[in-house]
Symmetry: C2
Subunit: 403 residues, 2 copies
């Protein structure tokens, strides 16, 4: 669970653990969409050719690797047998958000298949109702995967709330109106009989990981991800891993104090980033009235394009305070990049200059212009991250699939 700070008693090192570790080591050196050979893996891992051959044999049995014919590189010597990640292994990704449901399948090479998004107002619906609706969608995706010959190793479900992944428990999801929900049964029903099961995750955290694996974050090893949805969520990627903090809830950038004299926040504090950069804050500061989110966002974009001063000022203020929070985080956590997703990626044109100027004002020289990126994954970010986490679990524990 990626930098998970769990209380797991250090297991005694058995001789068999060495193999477990080396299976994962070999697998880590097979990159998506790139062929390799046993000899190359031996050179990269430092293992002997004999060991690599034995490990690869297990990984082929496990179905994680496939042989893809002879690699002819024109050089002298016997050509190697091509090895690649098996494109017929994947994981299910699913997302419950406030106004939509999403599912999809991601294979080991990172390709997204059978993606489907349905608009649905989930706020207020019971978890059973929502997951019932979601189950119809995951059934379709799983059947389509099966028809295409793709075996699903596991799955992930992202929700906009605080989760305890080990207990399949959503402690609170304010924007859904959920509190203290245990989902073991529902998660099992989403994807029966998969070796790695379905795991819960926080939506912003999963989106942050999706950027790392499949999006803007691929060029950074460490960054702050800020997701603009109804609330302002965050995910910290440190050393190419999600930083979850001691209790698993790190990255709550939405409640950084950016203006001690600022307005009251729903969290009980005041002057939080969310009170300046959350959807409601931007809409109301722009003078946009109530209505469906999509409609209000369209209004906002139109007004911005027309050069209307009130929305421009509102978005600039959001960018300014995003910069304050980014500057503090950059100094505190020693990260030098930031990726913005959710509604912020729609507002890139107006947010980017304000944010950059603000960061440079509060932490000069720390965040370079090309270290500010905006997500292109849109509504698939969270589900791709959830599926990706599941795939990483499989790749990190290949011995569980060896017969």
């Amino acid at each position: 669970m990626s930098t998970a700070h769990l209380e797991d008693r250090p297991t005694p090192g058995r001789v068999g653990d060495v193999r477990k570790q080396n299976l994962a080591l070999v697998l880590r050196n097979v990159h998506p969409n790139v062929q390799t050979t046993r000899a190359q893996l031996a050179a990269e891992t430092g293992l002997t050719k004999a060991s690599v051959s034995s490990l690869v044999a297990d990984l082929l049995d496990a179905g994680l690797l496939t042989e893809v014919g002879i690699t002819r590189d024109g050089e002298r010597g016997r050509p190697g047998v091509g090895l690649a990640l098996n494109p017929l292994r994947g994981a299910l990704g699913a997302e419950v958000n406030v106004d939509y449901l999403g599912v999809g399948v991601v294979d080991l090479n990172g390709n997204l298949h059978f993606q489907e998004t349905t608009e649905r107002h989930n706020s207020g619906s019971s978890p059973e109702e929502v997951l019932g609706a979601l189950r119809l969608m995951t059934k379709r995706a799983a059947d389509a995967a099966s028809d295409a010959g793709i075996v699903l190793l596991g799955g992930g479900l992202a929700v906009p709330g605080l989760v305890d992944a080990d207990r399949n428990y959503v402690s609170t999801a304010p924007n859904l109106g959920w509190t203290g929900v245990e989902l073991s049964g529902e998660l099992g029903a989403l994807l029966p009989h998969s070796p790695f099961g379905v795991t819960l995750s926080n939506e912003a955290n999963s989106a942050a990981l999706a950027e790392l694996w499949y999006g803007q974050g691929v060029s950074f090893r460490a960054y702050l991800y800020i997701s603009g949805e109804v609330g302002v969520g965050g995910g910290l990627i440190i050393d190419s891993q999600l930083f979850t903090g001691p209790a698993g809830h790190a990255g709550e950038i939405g409640h950084s104090v950016v203006q001690p004299k600022g307005p009251k926040c729903t969290c009980g504090g005041h002057g939080c980033l969310e009170t300046f950069a959350g959807q409601e804050a931007i809409f109301s500061a722009s003078g946009i009235g109530d209505g469906p989110t999509g409609h209000r966002m369209a209004q906002l974009l139109t007004a911005l394009a027309a050069g209307d001063p009130r929305p421009l000022a509102a978005v600039e203020e959001a960018g300014y305070y995003l910069g304050v929070a980014t500057a503090t985080t950059a100094r505190l956590m020693n990260v030098a990049a930031v990726v913005l997703g959710g509604h912020f990626s729609l507002l890139e044109e107006w947010i980017r200059p304000a944010l950059q100027q603000s960061v440079d004002e509060f932490a000069p020289g720390v965040v370079a212009p090309d270290a500010v990126a905006f997500s292109a994954l849109r509504q698939t970010a969270a589900l791709m991250g959830a599926a990706g986490s599941s795939l990483r679990r499989a790749l990190a524990n290949p011995q569980e699939l060896v017969p």
Copy 2:
């Protein structure tokens, strides 16, 4: 190097690595000042008695453990042979600060011996001069240790600046006036012929670790340490480890933005915590003129005790902004405790209420009153942390001492 985010190629798991891991595992289960036995270690680690016996034999050979006679617990059965951390193994700790030098020896049980502090105005002196003066002190400490039969396994040197421990390099220490200093030679001369050598560290980080191992932090697994010296430094302890961030410079709480409209800071930004809670800020807001730090601090404490309103307001403001930074960090990093050291521990009486009120205002319910602690280690914190890091290195790599 404790949650060090280094680019180390994952080593292939060899069969021998299992022993290395199990040597460290057994050692981790021998706690300072507590006797144990082979049988108890077997139960705690999950290893078989046979394996533990063999591992313990190596650790005795390495000099890390000692047998301390028969443990009679009055119960039936053969009594076990007592095992304990060898009190005759230790590490040297040293600190260069702006106005003093400190050395000491810490043994495996955490006891501090031969501690010596010398007032010395190091700001402006060349690194060679300062380390020359320090070497005289470390020589005395090493000789005293030797006379007492204590073998020094390694050492640590804490400095108030950004360091690259792997390269023995101080990139910048503004308050010493050092920039780009390479200290390999000097470090080697401080403690010749020790198996683990002398390692550089940041002073606030080492102090944070000293609190974890030997001070207030023992009751927390995760906290923010804030050190008030000339600057405001910080250290983040997450999951009982120092969080260093991707480039090793995390924890710079002094330059969190706590008031966007605040005054200019030496870092180039403005509204940083340091501009409200640094020594200079507190002195000048209190109306205390120039002079030696010790003298000014005495003046401040006298004025506070007398109820002088200006210093009271200055210290309360420092506490208020410490609370803002703590609230943000608590939410962002998911830590729920804070430990204050340096000059803040002298000001506890006045800082504590202001800080607690501020934290509760900005992040209600996140930091409990008994999760705010003040350091009692004073001037020994950094050197104990530096020595402790060295000891931890030895305990984590016992196989290097096995003959």
